[in-house]
């Protein structure tokens, strides 16, 4: 490779495009190195916070700036307003998980440093995934996200369930990664390139997809992405892994991973011919049905939220199916998915965070039984969780409502009205279990198993994070103009 090639590869635009990623990477390394020195908890926390703030600021700068770098690195990575918005969402998601994890490992905080490094690395992976326009770049992002998550899932290493979750996630994740690589190889064999651009031109796409080998490749890629967003039939790992993982990590998995995989899926849509839209819609509806029905019978709220996460993935997939079928509004599906996932990150992130707080107070606080009477004992926490439940259920005045509205709008615009109607009716089923959480907290008296009122004050970081989530959910629901204009 000669100097001029290097010069075009690493242009100013490339540096500008990668700045948020550099910030995260450098920050992660800095935190890792800082662990070697007796710096104290606060100093290291400041370092993590600065890293996240820097990444967020760089992304916001790109979002509000006059021009964006666009395609860089020989067309393998894109930095535009959409990826900047994804970047903001990821930093918020990771930031929330990090804040909620602050006092979560109190009994065993000896590896807090590594924990923080892994979280920052996963944020880097997400950002790389969202901007990837090349299968290998995406794969690097995917692994940068997944490997930290495998470790984080098993982070409570003295608990069997946590280790089991980590192992399960790792084994299945490894298979998914294998599928992804093999699919990429098959596509490369047919098309001679790993860039997504080849699919942009309908003629060349048709030519590539003529080959059964490429079709198998696309199917394998889709399967591995479906694994990450937990869509039928690749959703079975979700409940166990979500339940076993430390709750802040579960929050990160549920929000960040899914958002990143959706970000790439929206980029990779080009590869899917419009004839697949019906099957995608059917898969979306099945996913919603399985997620909602599964959640209905859960007693553990963490497990319930895992199933609900499956259903939410189904909703976004329905929007994607609409986009594949042909959304007459240019970029409408991306806007809808961005808004939906932004609201979901704040909502589910907050919900898992509140659960993490409760869990600290006693073993079984995350069951419905344990939540009984919470409204009397801890009204603010219960109120926050109520807002999250209503947002997940898509009730107006919350971000979840407008997100649902926009995703179903994509389906309606693509004239998939029967699917939209079935979809909204399935979300009525979802209400059945969200309401049960509210019932337990406000309408039932504490049972015999319910732990007594804890006197432990909630730590400041977690208070801030919960308040921020509630504020974000309500602002997105009541004054969504800024978000809609920038997505």
């Amino acid at each position: 490779m000669n100097a001029s090639v290097l010069k075009t590869l690493f242009s100013d635009a490339a540096y500008a495009a990668l700045a948020p990623l550099f910030a995260l990477g450098i920050g992660a390394l800095a935190v890792l190195v800082a662990g070697l020195f007796p710096l104290g908890k606060v100093a290291r926390a400041v370092l993590v916070l600065l890293t996240l703030l820097a990444a967020a600021a760089l992304n916001v700068g790109m979002l509000l700036g006059d021009s964006v770098p666009g395609l860089v690195l020989d067309g393998t990575f894109v930095a535009d307003r959409t990826t900047a918005m994804w970047g903001v969402i990821f930093t918020i998601g990771v930031g929330l998980a990090w804040l909620f994890s602050r006092h979560y490992y109190d009994e065993d905080a000896s590896h807090q440093n590594e924990h923080d490094v892994l979280m920052l690395a996963s944020a880097l992976g997400m950002s790389l995934m969202a901007g990837a326009r090349d299968l290998i770049v995406f794969f690097i992002g995917l692994e940068l996200l997944s490997i930290p998550l495998y470790a984080l899932a098993a982070f409570r290493r003295n608990r069997a369930k946590s280790v089991e979750a980590g192992l399960k996630y790792f084994l299945l994740g490894a298979f998914a990664a294998g599928f992804f690589l093999y699919g990429s190889a098959l596509i490369y064999a047919v098309s001679g390139t790993l860039k997504l651009d080849v699919f942009a031109d309908p003629a060349s796409r048709a030519k590539i997809l003529e080959s059964p080998m490429a079709l198998v490749g696309v199917a394998m890629l889709t399967g591995s992405l479906f694994f990450k967003i937990s869509v039928f039939p690749f959703h079975l790992w979700v409940p166990d892994v979500y339940e076993g993982s430390p709750t802040p990590v579960t929050g990160l998995m549920a929000t960040g991973t899914k958002a990143a995989a959706f970000a790439f899926l929206l980029n990779a849509l080009l590869a899917l011919p419009s004839s697949t839209s019906t099957s995608l819609a059917i898969i979306a509806l099945i996913t919603m049905a399985l997620g909602n029905l599964g959640a209905l019978v859960q007693q553990d709220v963490k497990r319930m939220l895992a199933y609900s996460g499956i259903a939410h993935a189904g909703v976004v997939l329905l929007g994607i199916a609409g986009a594949v079928a042909g959304d007459p509004k240019q970029g409408g599906a991306v806007q809808a998915a961005l808004f939906y996932m932004a609201a979901y990150v704040a909502t589910a992130g907050g919900a898992f965070g509140v659960l993490a707080l409760l869990e600290r107070d006693g073993e079984r606080m995350t069951t419905l039984e344990g939540l009984k009477g919470l409204g009397q004992r801890r009204p603010y926490l219960a109120a926050a969780l109520t807002v999250f439940m209503l947002s997940l259920a898509g009730i107006p005045a919350t971000g979840g409502f407008l997100g649902k509205w926009m995703v179903f709008s994509v389906a309606v615009r693509a004239e998939m009205i029967p699917a939209a109607v079935v979809g909204v009716l399935l979300s009525v089923v979802a209400l059945g279990y969200y309401l049960r959480v509210i019932i337990a907290m406000w309408m039932q008296e504490p049972g015999e198993d319910s732990p007594l009122a804890s006197t432990r004050a909630i730590a400041l970081p977690a208070t801030l994070a919960s308040a921020a989530c509630v504020a974000l959910v309500l602002v997105m629901g009541l004054a969504p103009r800024w978000f809609l204009d920038h997505m």
Binding site: P328, K329, G332, Q335, L390, I395, P396, A397, F401, W405, M406, F408, S409, V412, R413, I417, A420, V421, V424, L425, S427, V428, L431, G432, L435, I438, I439, W442, M443, Q444, A479, P480, R481, L484
Partner: protein, 521 residues
């Protein structure tokens, strides 16, 4: 820009916020604060009612409009969603009723709400904001916002302060109404995308020209949401449960105002916005209304629980409203609108009375009573007046509404008018039988001998409603004159749609009748 309506809508919410931050034990303060808030709102509401003249713009008065956000539309430019509130003849009576009923409801809670008073008052006030917003919203998205939000307070009110089976009832209520609403949401998304506006009056002008098939689909989606709320047969099963389990004040609000959100929606959207489909679907809707009258009456007849009896009578009375509205004649629509108010007042009163006797006797079974008139003469007086109003005695409010509805229905379809008329008879039967079993006969049960009569608070809170019962019965024109201009607009649309339907028939190839007529000429 005028702020009356914003103030009216959000004052209760402000009150709720203020109450939320009062200390936990200060129950007296919380009750009084809620009462004061609702009294101010009631005063504002009455002032608006008086200020609303017989003439003026029919496209909403006291308008308040703020840009809110925008959503995609097929016209390139986005659909502007505005925060638009306005009062017109269709919403006027409902808004006034909501404002006036609320202090009475709050005052009634002195007797039956003893636990978690703070939360109760907060939810009551939030509910008032939701209901007022629903009636005042003149933007489709804003309407949907308020429509769905108003579910939540009642969900809590039933779920926390309700009876034995409150959890079952409240979840059923929520899921039923939500299922209908969400289908309406898909319809609204479609309208916003294809028509590029969210303004109710603009849409009323645009959608009346929509092709009939599209109108019918939209009508079906809207009618499902509103029909479940009303509730229209066969979607009525949530109502008896919700009513029976709700605390008295919840029942009063539910019967008095919340159900009217459904009938209001039928007038505003199903009839006014989609007149073509309304003309087409009128026979079906009239049939559902009329059968509802009869079926609700029979259901009520079979009840032993007083509260359930009144809940079932609600199904019957709202059948009149639907029958009248979908007669699509001036008399029918006027009667339907009036009957909405009448039902709110009479059934509200009935629920209040049942609540009062339940607080004393802790039973609602008809068998537990007998001879109560001896022990509680004042109670008996109020009960009899309310019953007579409910069964439509001339001179009281129920008569005018029912009469207009039946006249209107007879013009449109004699069959369903007759079915409805038979409901009047059954209505008298079950209400008077209940009255006899409860109030009269021998005072043979020892518990009933110890019943104390109504106190000053209870009498005071019912007096305004009784006054309205008489006023509406003697001089309904005070109210109907104000709604008239808006209802005439609805009538105009219906007439247009009828003409269009006839013209459509003429244009169709198989139109021998008109050809024959022409050749005969």
């Amino acid at each position: 820009m005028q702020y009356e309506l914003v103030l009216l809508t959000f004052l209760p919410l402000l009150g709720a916020l203020a109450i939320a931050f009062t200390p936990k034990g200060a129950e007296r303060l919380q009750r009084l604060a809620a009462l004061a808030t609702t009294l101010v709102v009631a005063a504002l509401g009455v002032r608006l009612f008086l200020a609303y003249g017989d003439s003026g713009s029919d496209q909403g008065r006291f308008l308040f409009e703020l840009p809110w956000f925008s959503l995609p539309s097929s016209y390139g430019a986005d659909t502007a969603v505005n925060f638009k509130l306005g009062l017109d003849g269709v919403s006027l009576l409902m808004v006034t009723l909501t404002a006036v009923l609320m202090p009475i409801v709050i005052l009634s809670t002195w007797g039956h709400v003893h636990k978690r008073v703070k939360e109760f008052m907060v939810w009551m006030l939030v509910m008032q904001t939701g209901m007022l917003g629903t009636f005042l919203a003149l933007d489709l998205v804003l309407f949907y916002f308020f429509w769905e939000i108003s579910l939540i307070p009642l969900y809590f009110l039933i779920g926390i302060w309700g009876g034995e089976r409150r959890l079952y009832a409240t979840v059923k209520f929520f899921l039923y109404t939500l299922a209908g609403s969400l289908v309406m949401m898909v319809a609204i998304i479609w309208i916003l995308w294809t028509r590029g506006t969210s303004d109710v009056f603009e849409l009323i002008n645009i959608l009346c020209r929509a092709p009939l098939t599209e109108q019918l689909w939209l009508f079906a989606a809207f009618a499902l949401a509103f029909g479940i709320k009303v509730p229209l047969l066969p979607f009525h099963t949530w109502l008896p449960d919700a009513h029976t389990e709700a605390p008295t004040s919840g029942s009063v609000v539910l019967a008095g105002v919340l159900l009217k959100m459904g009938t209001y929606g039928l007038v505003r959207f199903c009839i006014h916005m989609l007149p073509g489909a309304a003309v087409e679907a009128a026979p079906v809707m009239m049939a559902l209304g009329a059968i509802g009258i009869l079926y609700g009456a029979l259901l009520a007849w079979a009840q032993d629980d007083l509260k359930r009896l009144i809940a079932c009578s609600s199904v019957s009375h709202l059948g009149y409203v639907v029958l009248g509205l979908f007669a699509l004649t001036p008399a029918g629509i006027n009667g339907g609108m009036l009957q909405m108010v009448n039902h709110g007042i009479s059934t509200g009163l009935l629920f209040l009375l049942v609540g009062m006797i339940y607080e004393r006797r802790h039973s609602r079974a008809l068998d537990a009573f007998g001879g109560v008139a001896v022990a509680m003469p004042l109670f008996a007086l109020f009960w009899v007046i309310t019953t007579l109003s409910s069964v439509g005695l001339p001179g009281l409010n129920g008569f005018v509404g029912e009469y207009l509805v039946l006249v209107g229905a007879f013009q449109a379809s004699p069959l369903w008018a007759i079915v409805g008329l038979s409901g009047v008879i059954f209505g008298a039967v079950y209400m008077l039988m209940a009255t006899r079993r409860m109030l009269f006969g021998a005072l043979d049960k020892p518990e009933n001998r110890e019943l104390t009569d109504l106190n000053a608070r209870e009498i005071g809170l019912m007096l305004p409603l009784v006054a309205l019962v008489v006023w509406l019965g003697v001089s309904p024109n005070t109210f109907m004159a104000k709604t008239q201009p808006s209802i005439e607009m609805v009538n105009l649309r219906i007439a247009e749609a009828r003409r269009a339907a006839l013209a459509g028939l003429d244009a169709a190839p198989a139109a021998p009748a008109s050809q024959r007529e022409e050749s005969a000429r």
